[in-house]
């Protein structure tokens, strides 16, 4: 295990690369999921506000 993590002494480079890749992709996925939800709740609020005003 230790050996695997060490990557033959090049841990910084290998994990640096993979770390950044994982970070960016995960952040993108999270941001995308969150964005959809915030948009929907915002629109929902707008609809409710409008609904309250008309009667």
């Amino acid at each position: 295990m230790k050996e695997f993590l060490a990557q033959g002494g090049y841990a910084f480079f290998v994990w640096g690369a993979y770390g950044m890749a994982a970070l960016l992709l995960i952040v993108e996925v999270v941001v995308l999921a969150r964005r959809r939800r915030t948009i929907l709740t915002r629109i929902g609020r707008l609809v409710r506000m409008r609904g309250a005003k008309t009667p």
């Binding site: 033959g8 890749a21 992709l25 999921a33 629109i43 609809v47």
Partner: protein, 252 residues
């Protein structure tokens, strides 16, 4: 039976289709990336001998090369949607373009970042003004230009068209730029063209890299469609179907 493809060009109809596509591509991407990583880390020799003495850091190749490929491919996709949008004036294609751009920029950045981390152990420097690296940097600037212009204009219709025009101008310029950097001395261009040597690669490495590339490709699809769904919702906020959807989601 005749399928009316134009029906799907309406955002309202495409929204549920996109939702379905997202899950399909996400599953494919996850599978390919997991397989590729396993193969890449455990089934490839840790030291390459012969003409290409690389150590463990060659494992960066499994993200470096796929990311570089995706960065270029996605720019083509971006420009393609932009061109379709400008010619046929379809809203959905502009939305597609806007959905692809950030993912493309991310992959471009990844190619640069991983390349830099590879360059240090391999060439002894993080950065070099090598043609390939430089043109990737310029591609990054083109992506950023598209995104920056799009977000600087807040009338979405205008933003779509202006950014689309920029992407296409960029596309016309890309070959010129690429070639000018690759060939700073026009009298000796021929000598500079042989560089990549995919065929000499160890077959295990090659196949896991190709699997990773496939995974990244599927990931791009998934991310683009997911973003597209958000964009559709944002832009169609005052239509009945979005409002219905929003109230339904809120109740849940």
């Amino acid at each position: 039976m005749k399928v009316n493809w134009f029906k799907f060009a309406a955002p309202a109809n495409f929204y549920p289709v996109a939702g379905w596509l997202v899950s399909v591509f996400a599953v494919l991407a996850a599978a390919a990336i997991l397989i590729g990583l396993y193969w890449g880390f455990f089934e490839t020799p840790s030291v390459l001998g012969g003409t290409n003495p690389q150590k463990e850091y060659y494992r960066i190749i499994f993200i470096h090369v796929p990311a570089a490929w995706m960065s270029m491919w996605l720019y083509l996709v971006l420009a393609g949607w932009c061109a379709i949008g400008l010619v046929f004036n379809t809203r959905l294609s502009y939305m597609m373009a806007a959905a692809v751009a950030p993912t493309g920029a991310i992959f471009t950045f990844l190619a640069l970042w991983t390349g830099a981390l590879w360059g240090r152990p391999s060439w002894g420097t993080y950065w070099d003004w090598d043609p390939r690296l430089t043109s990737e940097l310029i591609l990054f600037f083109l992506y950023l230009g598209y995104i920056a212009l799009h977000s600087a204009i807040d009338d979405t219709r205008r933003a779509d068209k202006a950014a689309a025009l920029l992407a296409i101008v960029g596309l016309i310029c890309v070959p010129v730029i690429f070639w000018s950097i690759n060939c700073p001395d026009p009298t000796q261009c021929a000598a500079l063209h042989q560089r990549s040597s995919l065929s000499q690669m160890e077959s295990n490495i090659l196949s896991s890299m190709l699997i990773m590339a496939f995974g990244f490709w599927m990931y791009s699809f998934a991310a683009a469609f997911a973003r597209l769904r958000g964009i559709i919702l944002e832009r169609e906020a005052d239509t009945a179907w979005v409002q219905e959807l929003a109230t339904k989601e809120a109740r849940r």
